[in-house]
Structures are given as structure tokens and as C-alpha cells.
Symmetry: C2
């Protein structure tokens, strides 16, 4: 029975109180005084119930002992108070409390499971619910990812034309079904009609070009308008990539509705529209958000997760990986896609040479510079949007950006096509079957074939044209991505970053190739690059460049390389990738250590304590804690001499989220910590349910009620909402240790003592403010609690 | 100048004291009392120097302020006391203190680096010293691994014969140089002479067989004898795999000499001897030990690592990975080996089918059962060795085990050969070039060829014989491995575990193959296994079995699979491997959650707090802390009324490693914590250097000296060795939270308070004892501090 009561309590750390207090009075009498004399000093309250019983090693076994005369008061308090132990919106969770609550639940299930077959089944169900959530999430988000893929492809092609044989086919599928298609011209078939053909009836000529151009812009603007309107009206949280917010949520912050069903629905729909509108954005980041929404929604089916914020976050992590796996699996069984398990499968014929590390490292430098530049420019633009009137017209902004993108993208084939397709083309090496413009080399045996199977050839006119177009595409992508990331539509950054790197890499690769062809007797090439031999692989350069740019923007190193080489399936190119990504990270870090996501977290003022960033200052806890010198004294509660009225006055006068409870104003010795929300709920609850609670009722946090005059109203016991094991540090503790404790234990607040006396309090927000101050930033940018 | 002093201090946490105390007296006077009145209670010592100055936010800036009359006393104490902040053998390190020391050092270098070009160079050197250590370690341990490989191969072949053309060639190299060797009989050549040929002059017949048998046993015993003698005489720490000890050291324990040069030298030599003696052991575990020794030795070249136990451990982690990489690279450029980057490179021709998951999962069950059985049997045997007279004759034991191993291993070709070779053979699929006995299938087109290229054939007599021999080898390996792991020679467990799994897997694989051949019309096989088609790959079964057994013994899941499939280069078989390894872990965990290394850690009583194991009991800190009910009171020091004599008496009467310092016996309010070792060193140092320190000198931990009678001797200030930010928890804190704090922050001890008063202390050892007690084990098995 006791364990049941324990389970229902809101507070886990307090559920031990009843066990501890069960060490009966006799024990107290001979237990105290073993170490020290408790009753020699004035300030020691004699009613301080469960004072030291250091020998209470066996307290649990003689637990049943009579709680004497206070039984009638305890009865009420053994009941759980609804709402105690939950959180407000935009507040930080207490990881220790949440984990503790879960262990309590687990113990209860474990102790019950031997009772009956039904309880055993329930315990099995509980143990497997984690797998269930992950499986469901994986399936759901994998299916959504597939749907988004297909829908975005179809709508993207809608900008160019329609399939007459079947409206729901995209360009590629339309021509698959046609039997008039030859392999060389696989994307041309009579069933697929461009808008000019449909409307004007002619496929060639300036008129039809302008018609196609116009329709392209029309559709792009329509999609963009629809996307931003849906986001604005139905789910404002659906905009952006969502990764900064998810990082903050996973670190223990509450944003209600951010992972809800509305966000999921609207994000899914608008992501398709945003991708199809041709804006310079990707869908990988928003897909993470979609997966986390699925995880959150499914977790509500299982009390294990829905009632525990820490466990829910565990599930979100797992969901994210499950979704990735599911998406890959879905892609592999996708009847329309290629059958590889990887996103961009590449096979290169030639190894790389040591000398090539120089261009690879240069690509790394480019990636780092681009990353640093992008982060600064994008943050500056987003700050402008936040602070000026301009930010009040998100719809107009999206339409404007979409219009500029469409106008400049259409004439250049490399910007008109789907960005994933572009990356794939850039990664691919030129082989005999490649009909791309990038592979139009002049054949060495002049005549017979248009291009040679043997690489290391002089570039043909197609390659030169492609180089120009790629340069323009590079400039275009760089500018547009800066203005696109942060718009009020779902937008990811992986694909645009990779595209920029891939374009730069391919350009460098082709340049190297031509250099090696025309100067193969240079001492640099002489050793390993014979005439007519295949020695430079431009596709590999594109891959290295993509990794470097992705690294520069997001600042993840090893994990990034792993992702990239999983995407490409190339295990042999780990050294070039590593070299480029490490360089890009070092170069980027020289301009600022934060990645784009961390920068956006800071821009938005989320309370995120970065695990990577070292705290290197020599400040002490006393310098960071509140109250500061000029502040009013710390709001504290005494354990047994407040009335309900006084307590409410203290709560109303301050805006703190919690209050330390002390023995007495004179001694300042700390007893515990009570949260504002819990106190409010408990008083409210007592008023409703418990008779005789009045404004002048005494409130006490001790085990036993204080001795009161005969005519005083019934007292209110609040021990069950008191956290009796608050974290404390001394005022001399260096802040680096305090920061470490907050990070590793996931604290929400910590009390500061000096020689056993309460001195102040440090919250997560205080730490973030202090860190901002030390970095010469505005401490008021930290907004939430 | 101040920063220099800070750097030289032994204690990092106290280096802040001088900053804090720099907030001059004026500040103290108006700073205190902002929050609370400090002078109202009796027990508040007025000399409690740096009481609350909560507004000292700018303390650092006005730091230069006069330290008034105490200057002559401070002068001495600003000097570093040599030895303070180091550790005794078999003690636990304080991670917080070590990390803090390193940040202090880092800050000093950072502040200095702008002073001159030389300082800037030094800072660069410091920043890169981590990479240097890792590179050096990687190279050295890679080279050692290569040497051990070559030497062990040569000595292993010495048991069978010698190469007449060149003594230093092993069997394989000897026959490579011979031009009389055909491909089919590549291991037979005239230059290689077996002992029978050399001594008796004949290669065939029972006489020569007995001669070879005798020489095999003779060499095996010689090697084993030499190995155990070297270990016993020169470096007792060189025995075993070393992984349990390294895990403990990495978790923050001091074992002097365990990673020293003697251990390295002897371990390298004896590892070769032990492997060559034919005992059932591998060299992977000891190689980890060798790599860590290299890392430790090289770290002494860099003060960043040699002077900081936490940083040293970081380096050891990195060294371990660097060594693995280096070993692989060395292997890839090894002129004698194959050119693959992986240990066992396998390519299979056929995919696996869903139905095959059943035998794979059965192999997982076998792996789990074997792991659980092995751990129990081996631990029981090792405990017997520790507790009985038998353990006193390690040399005899090794010789006995080596003799039994040699006698039973020689007749069976699968036990006679090198275990790595055996695993390779078992992993390899039967192809047209395979001459192994395992591939002697009867050809389907009877006659012409001895075996067919097309698998799924009836087994020939060779296969039947091999099956019998494999069964015997399995039983032999299982028994011998139990008795071998724990002998006083270097011994790893990876290769024997994998061998057992590979044998079992291959047996199951061949059985499945024959089943599919003879019953290909069963409904199970009908769908996917046509007549004459290649549907079962016995080599894959061997691989899956090996992974399952390795998982069962060591209980690592995902990381294990990654290792295994890196070893084999097979990315497509991740699902079978995962299924088997997960099953093996579940089955194994049902019999006990500890892997073999954790079991050995517990057997040896090392203070290792496992991060995986959940603490699930409901005990409170007050039940675990010392002093217990029956104990004498906690030994504490008061901050300003002890004499040197009293202090020494307290130290001599107790055996504690540290003492809490309190304001006064009456108030029991905690000031800080002082380590026994530091107090002893400081008193010793003061006696030598500081004049006027006598037995009746007053010792004080406060900022200012207490007021003393005029004729009293000069007092001794010990503030610099006082840890002023000890970790505290309340007596009501659940042990699960305490355990979490110890794990995550790497604490050595934690003080327990109740309402601001010191109540007791919890050390890492107390926690381990408590956990042992809760698991119904002998708490006295935890031996070290």
C-alpha cells in the first residue's frame, strides 16, 4: 500500500519523506546526539521533526510505526495533489526530478509484477513500450518522408508542365511509361507537355520560352504564397528548420505545441509547397522536426512517456534515428527510386593521390569561410527582421524572395533543376553513359565518338559553358540561401549548403583536371599522372566540397563525415573528407565557434547550455547568484511560522519560480526548496478540499505541526511539495564547476550557501546571462526561465 | 603576477581564495548583511573572515587592495607546497579538482601568449601536444603490434619445425621463397623441415609423428614457462588482459606502475611467448594494455598530461583508438600480410534470406548461454585460485594448463593451427580455389573435378571428418578457455571467444546447407532455395556465431557489431549480426548483467562505478553515510581552535583520507574539506621552512589569524589546502541521485548535511559497499579507497 502512495505523489524526492519520517520518535531520541549535540544552540527549533537520526539504517524495516496524533492531517496529504510536478510553458524541466519519478514508477511496476499474470503482462507492455513508440514513429515519419518526396517531385515538375497520360505522374514517371523514349533522351517524351506546348501549342521559339518562364514564376509564387499563409494562419511553429528549437527542447525546455499535431500537419504540407516553390532550401531539417512531432504524438499513447518530460525527450532522440532508418529503408523499397540504401551513391574508378590533399584542404578553407560568412550574414539579416518593421510582413517577404529566386533560377539549368538532382549530377563521375553537359569532353581520337571513355581529356565547349553556368549558380545560391533561411516557411539547410560546396568542388575539380591534362609534365603531376591516364576525379572534389560546406555551416566534424560517407557509400575517401572537414571546422572556428543552429538559439534567447562550449572564466558562485548587491533580499519561506496570507503575499509580490525554505530568519539554515507553481496549486487544492483552511491558517513544512494557540485555525501542511534535497554549492565554488554541475545533472536551479547558511540562488537563466555578460553580449537576450 | 601564483598552487579550487579575499575589509563591512544578519546567533564566529560579501561582483577588478597586517603570514602561503594535490597509490582521483587545475593552466597560457612570440610558440606547442602524444603512441603501439604479430607467428611455427634456408622465416615465408612450391600445396616445400625430419631424418610414419608431437609439447611448455617466470619476476602487472584494470584506471583510480615501462616491456615479450605457447588466448586485450602503456609513457613528455591525472586519462582513451588505427594501417602496408585494411576480409556471393534469421537467432542464444556460462565458471575458478593454496603456484598452474592444451591440441588440425587462421578459414566461403578440408564437397557432375564451383552440394568425406573435428575443437576450446583466462600470463579473450562462436556457427551453417540440399522441397526452402542454387553460406553463419559469442562474453552490443563488420568488411550483413548480438545480450543478461570484465573488476574489488548499471533502491543518503549508528562520531576539524598537536593526534588516531572543517563544534556548520595527505604534507613543509611553528601553535583555516594570547607561538595558516567548495547533499537525498552525482561528476567524496549542519560523509567506497550490500553481496569485497 505504501508503494502505491509513493507512486501517486507528484514529487519523487519527497516520496521518501514518509519513509524517513517513519523512524519513530524513540529513534529520534537516541539517534540524535551520536555525532553532535543538536540542542545546544538557540536557533535550533525543537519542533524540527526529523532531525538527525544518523543510525536509521533500518528505518525502512520498522516503517509501519504509528504516526501518532498527526494521522488526521496526514490522511489528506497522502493523496496526490493534481498538477503538482508539471511545468508551465517556456520553462525548464528538472531532469533529476523527472528521472527520479521514472525510477519510482519502474520500482512500483517491478514490485507489482509478481502479484498476478495481468500485472506481469502490464510490466512487459511497459518494458516494450519504448520499442513500440520508436517503431510506430519510424513507420509514420518514414511514410511521411516518402509522401513528401513524391509530392514535392510532382509539384516541382508542375512548374514546367504536365503529364497528359496521367496527371499524377511527374516528368520522369511520365516518360517511363512512354515506349517511344530512347535511353539517350530519357527525359523527352510526347506525353509530357510543357506549359508553352499546352497553351501556345508550340515547343520551341522565344514565345514559348517566355510562356514557360512565366508559368514557372507563377507556380513558384503560388506555392510560396500558399505555404506562408498556411504557416501564418494555422501553425506559426511550423516555420524554419526546427532544429534549434528541437535542440533546446531536448536539452529540457517546454514549448507547448511545438511538437503537436497541428504543427505536424501544417509542416508536412507546407514543406512540400516550399520545396516545390524552388526556394533555396532543403527538406532534411524539417523532416527531423516532422519525425520528432510523430515521436511526441505517439508517446502520448504510453503513460511512461506522456507523464514524464525526461523520458519523452529520450523517446524523441530515438525517434529521430528511427525515422532516419525508416526513411532510408522506405527509399530502398521505393518503386520509383534507385535501389541503393544511400542518398547519393557514387562509385569512382580511380584512387586519390597525396598531392590532391592540397586542393581538398583548399576546399576545406572555402567551406569554413563560407560557413562563417553565412552564419554572420544570416544572423544579421534575421536580427534585422526581428527588430525592424520589415519583420511584420512575412507573407510579402516570402513572395518577394520566391519571385527573385524564380526569376534568376529559370534561365540557368543548374539552378532550375531540383537541388538534390544537381548534387547527384555534380557528384557523378563522367562515364561512357553520362550524357550531361559536364561530360562533353573533346575526344582524343578526333571524330568517331563525341566523347571518350578515357578521362583526362581536354574540355569541350559544353564543359566551358557548364563552368560559367556553375559559377553563376554558385553566386546565386550563396546569396539566396542567406535570405531564405529564416523565412516563415519550413526550410532546411543541408541541401543548399551541400549544393554550394558541390558546385565549388566540381569547379575546382575540373580546373585541376585540365591543369593535369595540359601540364602533365610538371613535377607535381609527373609522378602519378601519365598522358591519357585517368588521374583526377572531379566528382570526388564535389563530394569533398559538399562535406566541407556542410561542416562549415553546422560545425559538426566526425559525425558529419560519417553521414556524408554513408550518403555516398564511399569508404575509401575518408581521408580527403576528414582533411577537408577538419580544415573547414578550424577555419570556421577562427571566426566564431558557434554553428548556425547555436547562433539561432542565441538569437531567439532560448535557455540552451551548450555542452561543447568551455566555461573559462574565474568567477565564483557568489558573483553570479541572486540577489545582487542592489537587489532586494532573497525571498525565502520559513518552515513553520508563516500564515497562508503571508505566503500568498510573498508569492504575489515576487515573480520567482521557487522559494528556499529555511529553519528561521535568524539561523538562515536551509531546509528545502518549494516551487511557486506547486505552492499555488497546493493552496488552491487545500481551499477546495480541506475544511478549516483560512487566510490566517499556519503553513508548515515540518514533519509535525507547530504548537499553536487553542483558538487558531487548522494549520496547512505543505511538506509533500517541499523538495528536501535541493542542490547546494558554497559561495566559493568556481563558476566553471557550477556550470559543469548544471550541464551534467540538468539542474534548473541551485542554492548557494556560506558556512551552512543560505546566501542566494543560481538558476540556469542566471548562468546563461552571466555567460553572455562575460562574452560581452547583452545579458538581457536570455529570455526564458 | 597573480595568475602565476594561481597556477603554481596545488589546489585549484582554492586558488580562488586569494581573489575572493581581495575584496577588502570595507566591502566586507557593507557587503555583509544585505541578505541576512550574520551576527545575531551565538555560534557565529566573529573571526569567520570572508563572510558573505554577496555584492563582490567586481572583486577581481579591485584585487590589488592591501592585505593589511597579515602580509607576513601570507607570503609563505602564496608559495606552492610541493606534493599538495597529488595522490597515493590505490586511491581515487577527484575529477572536478583535476579538470579545474587544467582549466587554470589553460587560462594562464592564454593570458601569457600575447606577451611574446616565445610564449605564443609555447601555447601552440601546448595546444598541439595532444595530437603529438596520440601520433607518437599510435606509431609506437602500431609498431609493437606488428612486431608481436611477426614474432608470435615465427615462434608458433617453431613448434612444428624450422626453415633451413633462413632461420628467421616462418613456415609461410619459407615456402614463399622456394620456387619448387605449387599453388595447391603452398605450405609444403623442401626448405621447411619438421622436427622429425631434422632429428630422425624421416617425414612420415608413427615415429616421426611422435617426434613432432613431443617437440610441439616441448616448445609449448618452454614458452609458457618462460612467459610466466618473466611475469612473476619482473612485472606482476603484465598478466591477464589488463582491460578490467584499464577500465578502472580510466574511471579515475591510481595504480602506480600498471602502465609503466617495465610492464610494457615484459608484457610485449611475454605476450609473444604466451601466444606462441598455444594456450587458448588472444592478443587483442593485451594489445590495448600495451597501447595504454605507450600513451602513459609518452604523456610524461608533456607537463599538460603528466601533471594532471584527468588529462592523462583523456590521452589514454585517445591512444587506444590511435593504436587501433595504427595497427590497421601497419597491417595494410605489411609486406607479409594481405593488403586489406580489415582483419578478416570476407566476400560472400549470396544474400541472406528472412528464414535464416531463425538459425541466426539460435546462434545468438548459444552465444548468450556460452557467455553466461563462461563468466560464471571462470569467476568461480578465479575465486578458487584467490582463496585457496592453489593460487600460490602460478608457474606450476601455467605449465599444467599449457601441457594439457598442447597434448590435446596437437592431434586435431583445427586446434593445432593458429586461432586467427582458424577463424579466417571458418569465415571463408567455399570457392573454386579453396583447398580446405571444409570444402571437400562431392561434385554433382560425378568425376572430372574433385569439387564443384556451384555450392549447395552434398558433403564429401572431408566435410564429415571436419565436422567431427570441429565438434571436438569446440568442446576443447570451451573447457581450456575457462581455465586459461586468469592465468598469470598475458591473455586476451576476443580471439578464443570468436573462435568458439565461429566453430559453432560453421557447424550450424553446414548442417543448414545439407538440410537445404536434401530437403529443398520443404515448404521452408521451397520459395528461395532451388536445386543447384547457392542459398546457404556457412561462412556467414560462422561470422554471426563469432559476433554472438563475443557479445555474450563482453556484453557490448552496437559497438561490437561495428567492430565485427569493420573486421569483415561486410556492410550487407548488419541485420543478421544485429539479430544475433541482441539475442545473445538478452539471453546473457537474463543470467546476470555483468560482462566478463565487470565481473573481474568486482572479483578484484576495484572501485569502479559502472555507468550502465541502474541504482534502483529507495535508500536515502543518511542510511549510507558514515558514521553509522555504532560508529564513533565523525572526525572533524574546527576552523580556528586546534593546535598542531591536536591536529596531528586527530590524523594519527583515524585512517580517513580527509576531514571536514567546521565553524565550531557547537554549530556544526560546514566550512570546507581538507585531505589527510595535504595536511600531512603542509605541516611537514611548515616545520621545515617556517620558523616558530611548534606543537602548540594554533592551526587556522580562516582568512585572518585568530586573536591569540601574547605569548603564544606563531600560528599556522592552512587555508591554501582547504577545499572551500566541497560537494554536499542533504540527508534526505535519495541514493539514486547521490549515485548519479558521483558518476557524472567523478566525485571522491560528498558531505551530508541536515538543515545546514554537517551530519556525515559518503565516499565512493561507501557507495560501492552499499550497492554490494543491496545486491546481497559481501560489502567487504570492495577493497580500495
Amino acid at each position: 500500500m505504501e508503494s502505491e502512495q509513493l507512486y501517486h505523489r507528484g514529487y519523487c524526492r519527497n516520496s521518501y519523506n514518509s519513509i524517513a519520517s517513519a523512524s519513530s520518535d524513540e529513534e529520534l531520541l537516541d539517534g540524535a546526539g551520536v555525532i553532535m549535540d543538536f540542542h545546544t544552540t538557540e536557533d535550533d527549533n525543537l519542533l524540527d521533526g526529523d532531525a538527525a537520526s544518523p543510525g536509521s539504517n533500518y528505518a525502512m524495516s520498522n516503517g509501519g510505526g504509528a504516526p501518532s496524533s498527526t494521522t488526521h492531517l496526514l490522511d489528506f496529504l497522502e493523496e496526490p495533489i493534481p498538477g503538482v510536478g508539471t511545468y508551465d510553458d517556456f520553462h525548464t524541466i528538472d531532469w533529476v526530478r523527472e528521472k527520479c519519478k521514472d525510477r519510482e514508477r519502474h520500482r512500483k511496476i517491478n514490485s507489482k509484477k509478481k502479484e498476478s499474470a495481468w500485472e506481469f503482462t502490464k510490466s512487459l507492455y511497459d518494458a516494450w513500450s519504448g520499442w513500440l513508440v520508436v517503431t510506430l514513429t519510424g513507420l509514420a515519419s518514414g511514410a511521411l518522408a516518402g509522401l513528401i518526396d513524391i509530392a514535392a517531385d510532382w509539384m516541382n515538375d508542375l512548374k514546367e508542365g504536365v503529364c497528359l497520360s496521367a496527371m499524377w505522374f511527374n516528368h520522369e514517371q511520365c516518360c517511363w511509361t512512354s515506349n517511344e523514349t530512347t535511353f539517350a533522351e530519357r527525359d523527352k517524351c510526347p506525353q509530357w507537355k510543357s506549359w508553352a506546348e499546352l497553351i501556345l501549342g508550340q515547343a520551341e521559339g522565344p514565345g514559348s520560352y517566355i510562356m514557360n518562364y512565366f508559368m514557372y514564376i507563377y507556380w513558384a509564387l503560388s506555392f510560396a504564397f500558399l505555404a506562408v499563409c498556411l504557416v501564418k494562419v494555422f501553425a506559426p511553429y511550423a516555420c524554419g528548420s526546427g532544429i534549434p528549437e528541437i535542440k533546446t527542447i531536448l536539452s529540457g525546455f517546454i514549448i507547448r505545441g511545438y511538437l503537436g499535431k497541428w504543427t505536424l500537419m501544417i509542416k508536412t504540407i507546407t514543406l512540400v509547397l516550399a520545396v516545390a516553390s524552388g526556394l533555396s532550401l532543403g527538406k532534411e531539417g524539417p523532416l527531423v522536426h516532422v519525425a520528432c512531432c510523430c515521436g511526441n504524438i505517439f508517446s502520448y499513447l504510453f503513460p511512461k512517456y506522456s507523464k514524464n518530460e525526461a523520458k519523452k525527450r529520450e523517446t524523441l532522440w530515438r525517434s529521430f534515428f528511427a525515422a532516419l532508418v525508416a526513411a532510408f529503408v522506405l527509399r530502398s523499397i521505393n518503386p520509383f527510386g534507385n535501389s541503393r540504401l544511400v542518398l547519393f551513391y557514387v562509385e569512382y574508378h580511380t584512387p586519390w593521390y597525396l598531392f590532391e590533399l592540397i586542393p581538398f584542404i583548399l576546399l576545406g578553407v572555402f567551406g569554413g569561410l563560407w560557413g562563417a560568412f553565412f552564419i554572420r550574414a544570416n544572423i544579421a539579416w534575421c536580427r534585422r527582421r526581428k527588430s525592424t518593421r520589415f519583420g511584420k510582413y512575412p507573407v510579402l517577404e516570402v513572395i518577394l524572395v520566391a519571385a527573385i529566386t524564380a526569376v534568376f533560377a529559370f534561365p540557368n539549368p543548374y539552378t532550375r533543376q531540383n537541388t538534390s538532382e544537381l548534387i547527384k549530377e555534380l557528384f557523378t563521375d563522367c562515364g561512357p553513359l553520362e550524357s550531361s553537359q559536364l561530360c562533353q569532353y573533346r575526344s582524343q581520337m578526333n571524330g568517331s565518338k563525341a566523347f571518350s571513355d578515357n578521362p583526362n581529356r581536354p574540355a569541350g565547349p559544353g564543359v566551358y559553358a557548364a563552368m560559367w553556368q556553375l559559377c553563376l549558380a554558385l553566386v546565386f545560391k550563396i546569396i539566396m540561401t542567406i535570405f531564405t533561411f529564416g523565412l516563415k516557411v519550413p526550410s532546411g539547410l543541408f541541401i543548399p549548403s551541400m549544393a554550394i560546396g558541390a558546385i565549388a568542388g566540381r569547379i575546382v575539380g575540373i580546373a585541376m583536371e585540365q591543369l593535369a591534362y595540359y601540364h602533365h609534365d610538371w613535377f607535381l603531376f609527373k609522378e602519378w599522372c601519365e598522358v591519357g591516364a585517368d588521374c583526377i576525379t572531379p566528382g570526388l572534389y564535389a563530394m569533398v566540397g559538399a562535406a566541407a560546406c556542410l561542416g562549415g555551416v553546422t560545425r559538426m566534424t566526425v559525425s558529419l563525415v560519417v553521414i556524408v560517407f554513408e550518403l555516398t557509400g564511399g569508404l575509401e575517401y575518408i581521408v580527403p573528407l576528414m582533411a577537408a572537414v577538419m580544415t573547414s571546422k578550424w577555419v570556421g572556428d577562427a571566426f566564431g565557434r558557434e554553428g548556425i543552429y547555436e547562433s539561432h538559439i542565441r538569437l531567439n534567447g532560448y535557455p540552451f547550455l551548450d555542452a561543447k562550449e568551455e566555461f573559462t572564466h574565474t568567477t565564483l558562485a557568489r558573483e553570479v547568484m541572486r540577489p545582487r548587491r542592489s537587489d532586494p533580499p532573497l525571498a525565502v519561506l520559513t518552515q513553520d511560522d508563516l500564515t497562508v496570507e503571508e505566503l500568498q503575499a510573498t508569492i504575489n509580490e515576487t515573480s520567482y519560480n521557487g522559494f528556499p525554505v529555511i529553519v528561521s530568519k535568524e539561523s538562515q539554515r536551509l531546509v528545502g526548496f518549494a516551487l511557486r507553481r506547486d505552492i499555488t496549486i497546493a493552496i488552491e487544492n487545500a481551499r477546495r478540499k480541506q475544511e478549516g483552511i483560512m487566510l490566517n491558517s499556519r503553513v508548515y513544512f515540518t514533519q509535525h505541526a507547530p504548537t499553536l494557540p487553542a483558538d487558531s485555525p487548522r494549520p496547512l501542511k505543505l511538506r509533500s511539495i517541499l523538495d528536501m534535497s535541493p542542490f547546494t554549492v558554497t559561495d566559493h565554488t568556481p563558476m566553471e564547476i557550477v556550470v559543469d554541475i548544471f550541464r551534467k545533472l540538468g539542474l534548473r536551479q541551485c542554492l548557494v550557501t556560506h558556512n551552512g547558511r543560505l546566501l542566494g540562488i543560481i538558476t540556469k537563466k542566471d548562468i546563461l546571462r552571466h555567460m553572455a555578460q562575460m562574452a560581452n553580449q547583452d545579458p538581457e537576450s536570455i529570455m526564458f526561465n
